[in-house]
């Protein structure tokens, strides 16, 4: 499928040849905002407009899906002084601008920006005596016109470059609904890229095969397009998503949230798998770049052939697809107040957090509860006070509750900046005259229950050595931990030999279950999040597997030193749901069984079981089918989410030594795939140290 033209295109993008067109300075938006005394919504709109205007269209001879960002930096709309005053006493989420949500791309495509414009105009007539609404709608209209203007200039540039056919497409979309698959892809490229121009990030792509299939289906039926040509267009679209992604903010390069969902149920509960589902998997496999990050919704009934195709991506080492289990996720969302139709329509935010496109202004990653820290405090205080084991568990719950309250209370003061353009792309904002930042149908928060395996292992080790076997005295344990186990080898050995999560051993798994149960109770007890939503507990770690062990500037969560599972200070935790580093486990089935014990109805913010497979596995012809069956057994086990990575430790070590020779080597990091050589060392080392299941 990757013909020479596409291969050359991919190489040019990887080499960032287009980066020479990037402009050194961003437009000065602040000055006019001040001179005209613009309101915040109008400033946000003006930013989008000036950013669109500053873009210099780039039409490369080969490209049939265009847009290349040439203004790398997003300029400020307030002076630092004004910004401080504006945000005083409030909490900004990460960088400030709304991020990590998903637009209703299907709706926007089908209406076109002119259709959205009409909706805004109708609302203006209806809401003419609501000044806030009028202000918002004027801002939204300014952004619609700005993006239309950008498309118009791209059309002119295409015409000037002798690309009449491309010009015709750009004259059509994103203004009007696409007539073809090609137009739909071009429309999405512009609409999506424009979100980033306003300073937003982690802009998800949602259920791509659901909203795109009608356009492709119509082309195939009318024989305007055959499958091969469709795949080529799709490959171009996927490659285009990698053009500007080095400019997108994230904790690490590659952490950019361009997640794309495939498969799963439709809103009425039927199977939504269509021919585009498999096509997108094939194309992602062949393009083999880090964007878009592919997610696949499955159930225990998902076709084995589709799973085997997905396994081909895993075999290539792309680190995706990440699998979400409809059988578990949908009931959990319903249990948390989502309408059944919306629950069936879920997608993921940047990494794994379940959201509903177009209907959620959710902040799914307000921070983490450090389970190791909570357990460590509970163990030390409990043992010092001569408490029993149950009392230690109770202290751990109280401690998690305290950490949670610290995070949630900050976020009860959350300040979301107005987002007029993003609002155009959501359900109901234009209709009601209310900016996205005012909230949507779903306004929940999500918190990571981070580094759970180590915390459960610590509890299991204390229970066994101190309370059951009575082989370790409480004071001795505290002393050994204070000494980071120096001179306490046999005690540390006893802790390491205690039951561990990942072996389907109830002595450890019960601790994991108890921790998540109590974490979920703490989240329920937190009540309203200040925005009419709840706080959803999750099981992911994000980057906290490094931060909670080693610390990070500006981090609010506590750092934990030596832990009672035998882990020395500063050693990293496992990412998401995975046995602790160095723990000997029997194999992936036991890992699945350990994590299948969690009550995912209560723990629904997402966070995958993270399994590494040795790439030596894929030497066998049957390996793909076997990986597919492993994924099916994951679904049958009642687990919620799974990410599989394929690694070759020797190759990773070699890549660390000679990055230049391995610049295209991809690995899964915590909830996304990145280029190994572009990661900072701690993240590289963590991937190398993960336990890979062989044959």
């Amino acid at each position: 499928m990757m013909n020479l033209r596409l291969q050359a295109m991919r190489r040019r993008v990887r080499d960032h040849e287009h980066a020479v067109r990037r402009q050194p300075v961003a437009p000065d938006v602040l000055r006019e905002c001040e001179e005209q005394h613009l309101s915040w919504p109008r400033r946000a709109a003006r930013l989008v407009r000036r950013m669109c205007e500053a873009e210099v269209p780039l039409i490369e001879a080969e490209d049939r899906i265009v847009f290349t960002r040439t203004v790398p930096k997003v300029p400020p709309i307030y002076s630092p002084q004004q910004w401080r005053e504006l945000t005083a006493g409030r909490t900004l989420h990460e960088l400030g601008p709304i991020s990590n949500i998903c637009a209703d791309w299907g709706m926007v495509l089908s209406q076109g920006l002119l259709g959205r414009r009409e909706v805004a105009q109708a609302a203006r007539r209806r809401l003419s005596d609501d000044s806030a609404a009028m202000e918002f709608l004027a801002a939204a209209l300014e952004t619609i016109d700005a993006v239309l203007g950008l498309a118009r200039r791209y059309a002119e540039a295409a015409l000037a470059a002798g690309r009449a056919e491309l010009a015709e497409i750009l004259q059509r979309v994103p203004a009007r609904p696409p007539r073809t698959f090609h137009e739909a892809l071009q429309s999405l490229r512009l609409l999506h890229a424009a979100v980033w121009l306003g300073g937003h990030y982690h802009v998800g792509l949602g259920r791509f095969d659901q909203y795109m299939w009608p356009y492709l289906d119509a082309d195939l039926r009318a024989r305007r397009l055959d499958e091969a040509r469709a795949e080529e267009l799709l490959a171009e679209f996927f490659i285009s998503l990698n053009r500007d992604s080095d400019l997108y903010p994230g904790v690490q390069q590659g952490d950019n949230g361009q997640s794309l969902m495939l498969g799963g149920a439709t809103r009425d509960g039927a199977s939504g798998v269509n021919p585009l589902t498999a096509m997108a998997l094939r194309v992602a496999r062949d393009v083999a770049m880090i964007d878009p990050k592919i997610n696949l919704r499955i159930s225990k009934d998902t076709d084995l052939e589709l799973l085997a195709l997905a396994a081909e991506l895993t075999a290539q080492g792309l680190g995706f697809p990440q699998y979400s289990n409809d059988d578990v996720v949908i009931p959990a969302l319903v249990a948390h107040g989502y309408d059944l139709e919306d629950a069936r329509d879920y997608t993921v935010a940047a990494c794994w957090e379940f959201i509903v496109a177009g209907k959620g202004m959710e902040v799914v990653n307000i921070g983490a509860v450090s389970m190791p820290a909570a357990v460590d405090v509970a163990i030390r205080a409990g043992l010092a006070a001569g408490a029993g084991f149950e009392a230690i568990l109770d202290r751990a719950e109280a401690e998690m509750g305290r950490q949670l309250e610290a995070v949630v209370s900050r976020y009860r003061r959350l300040l979301l900046p107005p987002a007029p353009y993003y609002s155009v792309l959501m359900d109901g904002c234009l209709e009601s005259g209310r900016d996205l930042s005012q909230g949507l149908k779903y306004s929940n928060f999500g918190v990571h229950g981070a580094c759970s395996a180590s915390a459960a292992d610590a509890l299991a080790a204390v229970r066994k050595t101190v309370f059951v076997d009575r082989s370790v005295a409480p004071a001795e344990l505290i002393q050994a931990m204070d000494a980071n186990f120096a001179g306490h080898d046999s005690l540390r050995r006893a802790l390491l030999d205690a039951p561990k999560v990942g072996n389907h051993d109830d002595q450890a798994d019960d601790m994991l279950v108890a921790l998540f149960d109590r974490f979920a109770s703490a989240c329920e007890a937190a009540g309203d999040n200040g925005r009419g939503g709840i706080v959803r507990p999750g099981s992911g770690s994000a980057m906290y597997y490094v931060w909670l062990a080693a610390g990070h500037p500006g981090m609010c969560e506590p750092v934990t030193g030596t832990t009672a599972d035998g882990r020395r200070a500063a050693e990293y935790f496992s990412a998401n749901l995975a046995p602790s580093p160095g723990v000997r486990v029997r194999g992936p089935l036991s890992v699945l069984q350990s994590f299948s014990k969690l009550d995912y109805r209560r723990v629904c913010n997402g966070g995958p079981i993270t399994l590494e497979l040795s790439d030596a596995l894929f030497g066998d012809v049957e390996a793909l089918r076997k990986v597919a069956l492993l994924v099916r057994s994951f679904a049958a086990s009642g687990c919620q989410q799974l990410q599989l990575n394929t690694i070759n430790v020797a190759k990773l070590q070699e890549a660390k030594r000679h990055p230049g020779r391995h610049r295209n080597l991809i690995v899964r990091v915590w909830g996304w795939s990145g280029y190994f050589c572009e990661l900072e060392e701690p993240y590289q080392d963590h991937v190398i140290a993960r336990h890979a299941f062989g044959m």
């Binding site: 389907h504 194999g587 089935l589 049957e622 076997k626 057994s633 299941f693």
Partner: protein, 251 residues
């Protein structure tokens, strides 16, 4: 109740049978194949293994009930993966009574017996008749060569193959390809003739020599002395099997 010695239980084992499987490696083998890549399985007794990451004891006793309980706990997942359990080794026939007792207690699991074919005839018959699929090794058809390379006579192996031919249990014949030793035209042709006499043969698997074969010897306090050129490519001669009308795969 029988007790067995197990040196490994490996989940998601790729090479040991169809679909999603967990393989039980039983300790102890009567053969001493010169190319054996799993020296841990040779001695029937638990032994201390000295690996680069520390010492550990290889070989753990399980009662049949313990092992069955452990496997049954995964039955749901294994069935969802359309697979089951494989008994391998070492040589499972050496612990046939133990294996039989485990089989008695398994919860509707597909079972593969992975055997060298060298073992007591009644034991072989008893297990082979009960399992769902037999993986049967054929290494060398020439008796002298077989004695030289495995330390044992192949008459017992061939008698068990005859027994297998009389059973309804489907089987796969597996041939380790060792360069210049087992991959000769004559040997493979003789194996093809023998395989053709087995009515429920599913296919023949040719297993190419693994150059990491000697990797575990030092850890077991043993030395590996290949009498063949390890750098030489094996001849995966599928033609002789295809000519005999036998499905054949190369791994």
């Amino acid at each position: 109740m029988q007790t067995g010695i197990v040196f490994d239980i490996r989940e998601f084992s790729i090479h040991d049978g169809p679909n999603l499987r967990t393989t039980v490696f039983l300790k102890g083998c009567p053969l001493r194949c010169a190319w054996c890549h799993n020296p841990e399985g040779l001695s029937p007794q638990p032994q201390v293994i000295d690996t680069p990451s520390g010492t550990r004891t290889s070989g753990q006793p399980y009662t049949s009930a313990e092992l069955a309980r452990l496997l049954n706990r995964q039955a749901g997942l294994l069935r969802a993966g359309q697979g089951g359990v494989t008994f391998s080794g070492g040589e499972p026939l050496l612990q046939a009574a133990f294996v039989a007792e485990v089989l008695d207690q398994l919860d509707r699991l597909h079972v593969v017996l992975d055997t060298s074919g060298f073992g007591d005839e009644a034991s072989f018959h008893g297990l082979a008749e009960r399992v769902d699929l037999v993986y049967f090794d054929l290494k060398l058809m020439d008796p002298a060569m077989h004695r030289r390379c495995t330390g044992q006579d192949n008459r017992i192996v061939l008698r068990n193959l005859d027994q297998l031919a009389g059973l309804a249990t489907p089987c796969v014949i597996r041939v380790p390809l060792v360069p210049g030793v087992t991959d000769t035209e004559d040997n493979l042709a003789a194996i093809a003739r023998a395989a053709a006499g087995v009515p429920h043969l599913v296919r023949v698997d040719l297993l190419t020599y693994n150059r990491a074969a000697g990797g575990k010897y030092a850890a077991c306090g043993m030395e590996f002395h290949p009498q063949w050129d390890e750098s030489q490519a094996v001849r995966a001669n599928t033609a002789v099997f295809e000519a005999a009308g036998l499905p054949v795969t190369v791994h």
